[in-house]
């Protein structure tokens, strides 16, 4: 139980801050926020419990991750709209603003956020052997923290306002921070991987589109710079740009909002006073977006350096018999059927291949290269319910290990022979060489 509570800390801390931000954003609707928020959180915990009990872990994580992805996408959309509208001078309260100020909208928004928050929190609770009491822990903690938020919020100066844009940035940042401590809910690493692939695709297409000469004609130093666009770092930095841009856009939208027109006032001091008040309010509104930047950075850091320890055994050297067959017994020093990933190294002359054997959740053994068809062969580590590609940080659910494609480990054909597993050495080496050659060429910037 203590271990669970310990694991819940980042999620509950995020929840506490979310409630605080929501209360300040809808400061005239505190009771609505409290009721909708707490109910939503309980609902989220219950949803998560039901999902994990009746659907596979992959499906359950996918549902919650989709909600997070949708929130982030919505955040991007709102940020772009905010920037586009920032130059306009608002003279009347729009119907959108009136809707936003209503109890209904405050309740709906808070409930949705609380559901996602509760669902993320409940992902920390192991499905097996968890009774209602275990789920009561996060719920009770969340209720207490919500009331603590309420007390603190009431003590914060009224001049410190949370503009809806800034509040939304903070809430999304906190949800992503909460989810980033769970590798299977993390968005940053998969985003970086997708960016890496996207940039690779885009640069390749762009160069072909505008008929740029191939690398044999281009100076190595120039090609080296072009090659940077194909590297892992581009994924990371591209991910960082996508990660932080919406919150920066929101800060930009707040910062570049038009100051009130004071030209009709015929006293300079009064004009300046009004402008100073507007500037002060604008600066105060920037506090929450800047706080959100820190939270986004924390989420990206947690994602890049997860506290999860991966099972990554040292590869055991194996040899082939005269027929070129590698035979690995199921039991002995290593038990192939213990559900853990077991790595091996096969050498033939100057060539070598690294592979692993794993018993999947379906009870079937699978033999795969310790490399995928896309990334550099940095190999895989095993965490709860998934293996992770060390190069691009993609999590591959154990259910899909053994299936080809994408960032999955490249599967190798093998024969299960009663007490062991037999693999053809030449097939293994050829597969490794072709995979590694292809991925090395890609990552080194070849077209």
């Amino acid at each position: 139980m203590i271990a669970i509570v310990y694991k819940l800390i980042p999620h509950l801390l995020s929840w506490f801050c979310i409630v605080l931000v929501l209360l300040r954003c809808f400061s005239v609707r505190r009771s609505v926020i409290m009721i909708a928020g707490i109910s939503g959180f309980i609902c989220g915990v219950a949803d998560s419990a039901v999902l994990f009990r009746f659907f596979s872990a992959s499906t359950s994580y996918a549902v919650i991750k989709s909600a997070l992805g949708a929130s982030f996408f919505l955040f991007w959309t709102i940020a772009v709209v905010a920037v586009y509208r920032s130059g306009e001078r608002s003279t009347t309260v729009s119907s959108r603003a009136r809707w936003f100020d209503s109890s209904f909208s405050a309740g709906v928004i808070s409930a949705f956020i609380a559901i996602v928050s509760g669902a993320i929190c409940a992902c920390r609770i192991p499905v097996v052997d968890s009774g209602a009491l275990t789920y009561a822990v996060p719920v009770l903690a969340a209720i207490s923290l919500a009331y603590a938020s309420l007390c603190i919020e009431k003590r914060i100066s009224v001049s410190f306002k949370a503009a809806p844009l800034g509040a939304f940035a903070a809430v999304v940042a906190l949800l992503l921070f909460s989810s980033s401590s769970l590798p299977r809910l993390d968005l940053f690493s998969p985003l970086s991987m997708k960016v890496m692939k996207g940039v690779h695709d885009f640069v390749h297409q762009f160069m072909e589109s505008i008929l740029i000469p191939d690398h044999l004609f281009v100076k190595p130093i120039v090609w080296k710079y072009i090659g940077l666009l194909f590297g892992k770092e581009v994924g990371f930095w591209g991910g960082i740009i996508i990660w932080f841009t919406p919150v920066l856009l929101i800060a930009l939208a707040i910062g570049s909002a038009r100051l009130p027109s004071v030209a009709h006032i015929r006293q300079g001091a009064q004009r300046r006073k009004l402008l100073a008040a507007a500037i002060r309010e604008q600066r105060l509104q920037l506090v929450i977006p800047f706080f959100s930047i820190v939270i986004f950075a924390g989420a990206a850091y947690q994602s890049s350096f997860p506290s999860v320890e991966y099972w990554d055994p040292t590869p055991v050297a194996v040899t082939a018999n005269q027929a070129g067959e590698i035979f690995i017994p199921k039991t002995g020093e290593i038990n192939l059927e213990d559900g853990k990933l077991h790595k091996y190294l096969f050498k033939q002359g100057t060539r070598e291949a690294r592979f692993f054997i794993l018993l999947g959740p379906d009870g079937q053994l699978t033999v795969d290269l310790d490399a995928c068809a896309i990334c550099k062969p940095d190999g895989y580590g095993q965490a709860d319910g998934a293996v992770l590609c060390y190069y691009c940080k993609t999590l591959i659910p154990l259910e899909t290990v053994g299936k080809p494609g994408g960032c999955n480990p490249v599967p190798i054909s093998f024969i299960e022979k009663g007490d062991g597993v037999a693999i053809d050495g030449i097939t293994l080496i050829n597969s490794w060489v072709s995979t590694v050659q292809a991925t090395t060429r890609v990552t080194e910037g070849g077209k």
Binding site: G268, A269, R272, K273, A277
Partner: protein
Amino acid sequence: MAASIIETTGLTRSYGDICALKPLDLLVPEGEWLSVMGHSGSGKSTFMNLVGGLDRPTSGSLQVGGENLLALSEDGLARFRREFVGIIFQQHHLVPYLTAVENVMMAQYFHSVPDEAEARFALERVGLGHRLKNRPGELSGGEQQRVCIARAIINSPKLLLGDEPTGNLDHKSTIMVMELLKELRAEENFTVIMVTHNQEVAAWGDRTIYLDDGILVREERLVKTDEG
């Protein structure tokens, strides 16, 4: 009869055992030019500091522009000084490495936000349109004091306090500064409280009060002729 901008009842200020201002009852109507005279240590500056929100009274009541200064917090008092009061001292207290216009803009900055055009205009009003980019060291005493006036009026104060503003000036400059203050008061309609030793300077006011040992001992209302 104009409404009072300053109302004091039993206003007292003591420093330990020394009572710098003894219970003072005074009304200053809005727009009046009040000269405060008295010898050194008579409580003139103490009185000015109290009405300007630079100091707090020991007892009594002090209403300035409808604000009870005794009830204001430190922040409130700072806001009061920023928005309500303009002060001109005998020493100009200009920042030596800033130009005239920058010195005025600094007062704007502490009030709200700087506005160069407005600062230039204020200096033009005090006759320094040609000295905008000069530093205080490059200005004469009279010009320096005119920069101080521009600085004091830039935030449109309701109350302008002068503590011997012409104390360091020659006769000609004194006349120029006083003429300027008179013109500005006519345009802006602010109330002036001018602490001075100089009977001639005091005569520019509508009324003169005399303090002696912290006590208001005499009051003179000046009858203006058309020639001033």
